[in-house]
Symmetry: C2
C-alpha cells in the first residue's frame, strides 16, 4: 500500500496479523504510528518488548503475572477458600472487576472442545484438583455460557463434587440493562429456571 | 484490567490510544501480543521503531518515503506531466492502486477548513505551484468528495487554471458494485451531472 516506504508497508502487514485488525485498519494504524512523536512510538515499541520480557505465568493459578506466585494468589485479603475457574486470563480480569467478589482464580487455558481436539489433558484440570485441599470450600465454575463452556463446567462438576466440595456455576440470565423483548429464548429459559425468591 | 501484570496493563493503555481501538480491543490485543512468540512480538516492536527511524518525507511531493526524492518522483516510467493532488499520504497510496493511473502525486497535508483554522498557508500549496513548470500539462485534484475537500478543490482550480494548465477533478458518482436504490441523493445528482456518452 505504501510503496514509497517499505518499512511502513512492513509495519502495516505486521499489524494486519493481529486479531480484529483488517488490511485497511492496519494501514491506518501504521500511518498513525508514523505521525506519532518519536518518543510516543518508541514507548509503544518498548511496552511490547517489556510485556514479552517480564510477563510469565503464575505456577499456582496460571494467570499472567510478573511475579510467581502472582499478586492474586499471595493476596491475604482474598478469600482463599473459594476458587473461581475460568477459561482464559481476560475472563479472570473481567470477573475481578465485579464488585463483592474476592476469590482466587484458576485459569484452565481453554475449554473442552472435542471438534478441535482439545480434551481434559490439554487443560489445567490436574493442577486444579491439586489445589483442592482442606482449606478450599467452594469451586465457582465461570467458563463461558456456550456449548463448550457448559460441557467443560459439567465435566468439572462431576470430577470435583465427589471430593465433597461445593461446586457452583455462575448464573445465566438476562444481562443487566437489557430488554426482555429482545432476549433470545435460551437466555429467557435460563432466567426463568434460575429465578430466586425476593 | 490485568492487575496481576502491570506491563500488560501499560501496553493495553498504550494501545487504547491508537485510533479506532477501544479499551476492550486494546486489552484483547495486549493479551494476543502476550501469547505471541518472543520473536514475533519483538518483530512487531522493531518494525514500529524502524518506521520512526527510517521514514521521512519526500521534499518534492511530500509523500512518506525512506529516500529523498521518493521512489515515485524518481520513477522514469511514470507520467511526469500529470500531478495528482491529494490531502494525505493514504489517499495517494489508495489511488496508486487504481489500474491505468500512473501520475506523480502531491500531498497537501490536509484540506482547507476555516472552522479548524486551516487556511491555504497551512497546506503545501506554494510547493505545488512551485512544481508547475513547462513539463506539467495536467493537475488532477483528488481531494475527498466532502465539503472541505470540494472547497479545497475549487480553491486550487481557481489558483492553477490562470497558469494555462488543465485542471481536472476526479469523478463523483455511484461506487462500482453499489445499489442505485440505496445511494444518497447528492451522489445520484453527481452521477447524473457527470453522465457520459456511450
Amino acid at each position: 500500500m505504501f510503496k514509497s516506504a517499505a518499512s511502513v508497508e512492513r509495519l502495516s502487514n505486521r499489524l494486519a496479523r493481529l486479531p480484529g485488525i483488517g488490511r485497511k485498519s492496519a494501514a491506518r494504524l501504521a500511518f498513525h504510528i508514523l505521525k506519532l512523536s518519536k518518543e510516543e512510538a518508541f514507548e509503544l515499541a518498548d511496552t511490547i518488548r517489556e510485556v514479552k520480557e517480564k510477563v510469565g505465568f503464575c505456577s499456582i493459578c496460571f494467570n499472567i503475572s510478573e511475579s510467581d506466585p502472582c499478586q492474586i494468589c499471595t493476596d491475604s485479603n482474598r478469600q482463599h477458600q473459594t476458587i473461581c475457574v475460568v477459561e482464559e486470563t481476560p475472563d479472570a480480569a473481567a470477573l475481578d472487576k465485579a464488585e463483592g467478589f474476592n476469590a482466587l482464580f484458576h485459569i484452565l487455558g481453554g475449554r473442552l472442545s472435542p471438534l478441535d481436539g482439545i480434551g481434559p489433558d490439554d487443560l489445567r484440570i490436574k493442577e486444579l484438583l491439586h489445589r483442592i485441599n482442606g482449606d478450599v470450600t467452594e469451586i465457582v465454575i465461570a467458563t463461558n455460557p456456550n456449548v463448550e463452556g457448559e460441557a467443560t463446567a459439567i465435566y468439572l462438576s462431576k470430577l470435583i463434587r465427589p471430593l465433597g466440595i461445593k461446586v457452583t456455576r455462575i448464573a445465566r440470565g438476562l444481562p443487566v440493562g437489557s430488554d426482555l423483548e429482545f432476549a433470545d429464548s435460551a437466555t429467557l429459559s435460563r432466567a426463568l429456571e434460575g429465578r430466586q425468591e425476593f
